[in-house]
Subunit: 134 residues, 2 copies
DNA sequence: GTTTGACCTTGCCATAATGGTAAGGTTTAG
DNA sequence: CTAAACCTTACCATTATGGCAAGGTCAAAC
């Protein structure tokens, strides 16, 4: 049972880097790990699960700040799913607006690139448009 | 003719902040401005045009590093439009892949949010899925 | 038993672009 | 002359991640 892993193995198990695990601990996202006599951090399977939770949330783009809230909600049996959904929805809104912003850049830039010959001559509509007062 | 503006007015004209104009100068994007006896930076209309160029490029998401190249190309009468288009295309590729990444998050997160009641009960599929080993 | 390689520790620096604040000099209008 | 609105530099903060360096530890090979 309680198999204890050092940080390198915890990193492999969770898909995070050892560096980041230390960082998460230091920023209060994770409780301080128990240590060996030599000072090595040790992780049990429950903590490995927490690390996986963090990795999954990060892969969805949640900030560490949001993840802290998610972890607290996760560990609170009294939570209301409303709170979780609200966090998710806010993050979703941010994602959606970032996508819109990028798509706008994509559209403008595509038009510009299409209007540039891209050959050996100096004439370039991209530069011309960037230089316009607008 | 050579109307000279102080940094605050140059900021208003260009749509950049005074703070950022100083920063661009310090990072080598802009040549050092002439100064008044009191040390105030002064900008002529050509420099205002450069500031506008930078603002437009920033609004398309180009990095300062890329903008430095764009400025050099802009000022080089010998440039080949190929070089400009290549820069634009690379940036476009990055934008496109960021959009894809965000859309993936959006899709997964939407599915998760849809599967959470978001009411007063503690059951929440978002948390459950984040906690899954995956 | 010693050496060696693969770990671990902490601490500091760097990134990208921007904002804030503080302490102090200047200019302009009243 | 004074007060408001400028300007200057310098330092700190943000976000998440990586790198490096100097040094301790552990296990296996010799």
């Amino acid at each position: 049972m309680a198999t204890l892993l050092t940080i390198g193995d915890a990193a492999k198990e969770s898909g995070l880097s050892a560096k980041m695990i230390r960082h998460y601990e230091q920023s209060g996202l994770l409780r301080k790990s128990p240590r060996t006599d030599a000072g090595y951090r040790l992780y049990n399977s429950e903590q490995i699960n927490q690390l996986r939770f963090i990795r999954q949330a990060r892969s969805l783009g949640f900030s560490l700040h949001d993840i802290q809230s998610l972890l607290e909600l996760w560990q609170d049996p009294q939570r209301e799913s409303r709170a979780v959904k609200q966090l998710a929805q806010q993050h979703l809104d941010e994602i959606t607006s970032k996508i819109a912003e990028l798509q706008h850049m994509q559209q403008v830039l595509t038009a510009l690139a299409d209007s540039c010959r891209g050959d050996g001559s100096p004439h370039c509509n991209i530069l011309q448009q960037l230089a316009k007062p607008s």
